[in-house]
Structures are given as structure tokens and as C-alpha cells.
């Protein structure tokens, strides 16, 4: 357990996620405001107490969501950092607020991530027809005379992450049916989401339903892909020193940030051909375990970035939840189901809870905090003391946070 607050620590004082799904009547600022105000209320503080705001909204990254949010909930003149880091945007916002508190610039920070993504369709492919030009003229860094998506591999996210999962099975040969293995990971997460009232989808799906659904990029069918939806999440962070002066109820519900790490992908052969999401995750995990002074065997639950069923498998290995190369037998042992030894994505994960991009890296922290506070209701992991939250933004960025329950 985390013990008492002390100097140099950073804690989550308040946190909130909105319902994920379709919010046709709420705009981006409405969703961000709902999450921010509820996080402040949960922390029992106000905008007047906050010294820094970090905010992310990837789809409108140049719109200044932080200042737009201030204009609705409190223009106090504090510094705003609008951040964008692909699917790691939320974790980057949180980490920015944590760094400001750690640096001693302020005692309390607010991080917000929000996205309106319902009905966004296929990501990574531009979403519009790519027409050939009138005449062949070399353009860009590859001197391409025509669009290469579909002609030289795929730029779609389902296709990229499908290859990442298949690459793992090439390196660690598997005797069974590839697609069924990955579909069973999806079956787990869809099953978990039935206990999460804030998930975008809460319907249990059978293996046959998952495998028989619309094929997007083999082996990923539609329910094996992250669900585009609307949502927001926000967190208030506080220094250990300030927390010590706060009310007993605030101290009791505060969750310690035992590790906060952000990495990018170091160069390796092939990494500019197919993104390597493995090494930067392994590096982030290693740093996080070292910062927290705990090991993967100490984790009571994990929320990891299952943007596709094929991604979840590789991250069992990358986060060192299993021995190197043993992700398949680890999953097949049942370890990652909610009654297993290392429950993974008990929220339903991105495949079922949903993936409003910039919200995801704070929403997964919310899920962990919910369990560590013993407030997770029907899906509570009993006696949860330590949890890990992980996100990957392709390009790439990896955020890992380890959280511990207050003493």
C-alpha cells in the first residue's frame, strides 16, 4: 500500500469519466466541462484552487480545448497546455499536470481529455477517396506518383495493428487458429463490459458472433476493433505536501501516482516500415516498475491499450505480465479474465468500453482509481491495492501509470 502522503509524491485527488457512447446533444466543450467539473467536485476543490490545466482533444488539436473549457468553467488566468499525442493524448495531459506539480510550480493541477468520435468510421485512412492525379508527379518523402495506401501495404489502424499481432505469432509460433485466439481476447473484454454502466457497449458477445461479424482487417473483425464513441475524462492531481493538509475524507480517497512515464519508440530495424509498439511499451513498463518499486506480479488489475484484439496480446508480453514470449499461454490460462490472476481491461477495454481518443488515457486511470477506492460496484476487483494503466499513441508514444491505494 502507498502509505501516507509525503513531500515529492503526486496523488490523484479527484477523477471522473463521462458515459462513453453517443452524445448528439453535447459538444466537445460540454463533455470536457462535465468531466472537469465532476473531477473537481470529486476532489472537493474548485477551479480557483487549480494552478495548471493540461487538455487534449486530438480531432481538433489546433482549437485550444483548454481555453475553450476555461471560458465555460473558470477563466482564472492559469497556464494551459493543450497537448496532442495521438491515442496517448489523455495520458500526456495527465503527465503534463503531474510534471508541473512535481516541479513545484503549483500544488494542484487539472488534466482533461475529450473526443467526439461517434460515427467517425475508419481511422488512419484519411476517410476520403484518394484520387490519382492527372499526371504522375513524384511527391513527398518517397517520391510517390500516386497515393500508396492500399498499393504498398495499408495505412488503416485495424490493418496496422493486425500485422502487429500477426508478427507476434510469427515470432512465437502458435498451433491454433490465429483468428480464434484474438477473437477470444475480444470475447473477454465484451464480457467484462456487461458490468460497466459507462461503457459504450455492454452486450456480451459469443465467440461465433465475434468471428462471424464484419471482417475489417484479418484477423480483426468489427467487434475486435476499438469502438469510436464520444466521451471525456478528467483528473485533479495534488502534491503530497498539500494533501497532508487536506480533510481526512480527501486523504482517504486519494490515489497515489507511484509511477508516471512517457516514452517514444527508439529506432530499430523495421520500425519505420511497421510501427513497433513493443519496445517503447517495454521501456515504459520497466521504468514504471522501477519508479514504483513494485513488479508486475504485484498488480491487482491492468487497463491496457486494446485498440484492437491483436494489440492486447502483445502488451501482455510488453508490460511483462507474463514471461517473455508467453503471451498466448498466459491468456489461455485465463489469467486476464476478471477472476484471473491479473485481470486485464475489466472496464471492457477500448473494444467495448470505447475509445474516445484523448479521453482514453485518463479514463483508464479512472477505472483503476475506482477499484483502488473500492467504489467499482458490481465489477469491483476485491482488495485491489495496485493497478497499472497503459496507452499507446501510434507514431509513437506510450504512457504508463502505476497507481496505489492510500493506506
Amino acid at each position: 500500500m502507498a502509505g501516507d502522503a509525503s513531500t515529492g509524491d503526486v496523488w490523484i485527488l479527484g477523477i471522473h469519466m463521462t458515459k462513453f457512447g453517443k452524445h448528439p446533444d453535447l459538444d466537445t466543450v460540454d463533455l470536457a466541462a462535465e468531466a472537469a467539473l465532476a473531477a473537481l467536485a470529486d476532489a472537493q476543490v474548485s477551479m480557483r484552487d487549480i494552478g495548471v490545466l493540461a487538455a487534449g482533444n486530438l480531432m481538433a488539436a489546433n482549437a485550444g480545448i483548454g481555453q475553450q473549457l476555461q471560458k465555460q468553467i473558470g477563466q482564472t488566468g492559469i497556464p494551459v497546455y493543450n497537448v496532442a499525442n495521438a491515442c496517448a493524448t489523455g495520458a500526456t495531459a495527465l503527465r503534463t499536470a503531474i510534471m508541473a506539480v512535481k516541479a513545484g510550480e503549483c500544488d494542484l493541477g487539472l488534466a482533461v481529455g475529450v473526443e467526439k468520435l461517434a460515427g467517425a468510421g475508419l481511422l488512419g485512412a484519411g476517410g476520403r477517396p484518394k484520387a490519382d492525379a492527372e499526371t504522375w508527379t513524384p511527391r513527398g518523402r518517397y517520391g510517390a506518383v500516386a497515393p500508396v495506401d492500399g498499393r504498398i501495404g495499408t495505412e488503416t489502424m485495424p490493418g496496422v495493428f493486425a500485422q502487429i499481432g500477426m508478427q507476434y505469432l510469427h515470432e512465437h509460433p502458435y498451433d491454433g487458429v490465429d483468428q480464434e485466439l484474438f477473437a477470444r481476447i475480444s470475447e473477454k473484454n465484451h464480457s467484462h463490459s456487461t458490468l460497466n454502466p459507462l461503457a459504450a457497449y455492454t452486450k456480451k458477445m459469443s465467440l461465433d458472433e465475434i468471428m462471424g461479424d464484419v471482417m475489417i482487417a484479418y484477423p480483426n473483425t468489427r467487434p475486435m476493433c476499438s469502438a469510436n464513441c464520444d466521451g471525456a475524462a478528467a483528473a485533479v492531481v495534488v502534491s503530497g505536501e498539500r494533501l497532508k493538509t487536506m480533510a481526512p475524507d480527501q486523504r482517504r480517497r486519494a490515489v497515489k501516482v507511484s509511477a508516471s512515464v512517457l516514452t517514444t519508440d527508439p529506432w530499430e530495424e523495421a520500425c519505420q516500415v511497421l510501427p513497433n509498439v513493443n519496445t517503447l511499451t517495454r521501456n515504459a513498463a520497466r521504468q514504471a516498475y522501477e519508479q514504483a518499486g513494485i513488479g508486475p506480479e504485484d498488480l491487482d488489475l491492468v487497463e491496457l491499450h486494446d485498440c484492437f484484439a491483436t494489440a492486447e496480446l502483445v502488451h501482455y508480453d510488453n508490460l511483462m505480465l507474463c514471461d517473455e514470449g508467453e503471451a498466448v499461454p498466459f491468456f489461455e490460462s485465463g489469467a486476464t479474465w476478471r477472476d484471473g490472476s491479473t485481470p486485464v481491461n475489466v472496464s471492457g477495454g477500448l473494444q467495448s468500453k470505447g475509445h474516445p481518443i484523448a479521453a482514453t488515457g485518463i479514463a483508464n486511470i479512472w477505472e483503476i482509481c475506482h477499484h483502488l477506492r473500492g467504489e467499482a460496484g458490481d465489477r469491483q476487483i476485491d482488495g485491489a491495492n495496485v493497478g497499472l494503466a497503459h496507452v499507446i499513441g501510434l507514431g509513437s508514444a506510450c504512457g504508463v501509470h502505476i497507481l496505489e491505494r492510500a493506506a
Binding site: L122, A125, G126, G127, R128, P129, K130, A131, D132, A133, E134, T135, W136, P138, R141, Y142, G143, A144, V145, A146, V148, D149, G150, R151, I152, G153, T154, T156, P158, G159, A162, Q163, I164, M166, Q167, L169, H170, E171, P173, Y174, D175, G176, V177, D178, Q179, V214, M215, I216, A217, Y218, P219, N220, W267, E269, A270, Q272, V273, L274
Partner: protein, 146 residues
Amino acid sequence: MSNPVPLVDYLVLGDDLHLVANECSSCGARFFDRRNACAACSGTDFRPVRVASEGEVQAFTIVSHAAPGIPVPFVAAVIDCDGTSVRGNLVNVPPDPEHVQLGMKVRLTTVPVGVDAAGTEAIGFGFGPLDGGPGSASSEGSEGSE
């Protein structure tokens, strides 16, 4: 009628079909794009090197859903060409998991892209099964497949 143009500038057409990479003179890292400096060692001197035209499929997906205008299904893959990884489509093989397998041996081949308003043809590339026709890859000893 002018000579055909390659889809990308790292494709060398003609009788001696091959791909060419920019290799860092300091550390040997290989790249297919125009470089400012080396991502591995920050060196700024590069030389063009020929990439092996035969390789082994280390990852693939069969794309059934793509941006509008892109014909599906197609097989996108990463091919290990004697230590240099290459992105490309697998061609001349049915796009299904019975015929496309991890570890299958493939060889560089050309793929027509089209003819522009000036009558110039553009030619792209893909990788086909090493011993020719559809389905032939499954007869190979493919280590590391299903």
C-alpha cells in the same frame, strides 16, 4: 509514349527489378524515404544500397475495409528481405488465410498502377509466392506459421 515511371522512387524498374534503400554510412541503418539525418545515429551521410528481392513474410493482414476507392480485399504485409524489412502487398496469391501464411517465401514483382493523361504508365511493386502460382506457398515448409 514515354518510359514507365515507378510508383515510388525507391523502386528501380527494368530487367533488373529491385528496391533501393538509403543506408547510413556510419551505422548501416536503412531507410526508404528522403533523409535529413539518421534516426539511429544522427549521421548525415547515406549511400544507396540494393535490397534483396526475395524474402519471408513476417506479418500480414487481409484488408477488407479501406478508404473509399481502394480495391479490397488485399494483403498488406511486412517482408524480411535478408535483414531489411519492406512494406508491400502480397500479390498472385488468393487473399485468404488458407493461402497467405506467416513465414511464406516471396519475391519482388511489378504491379501495374495505371496510365496518366500524358500516356505515361506508372508501375508499382508487390511480392508474390516464390514458386509462382496461387496457393503454391502452402506447399513450402513455412516455419512459424499456423
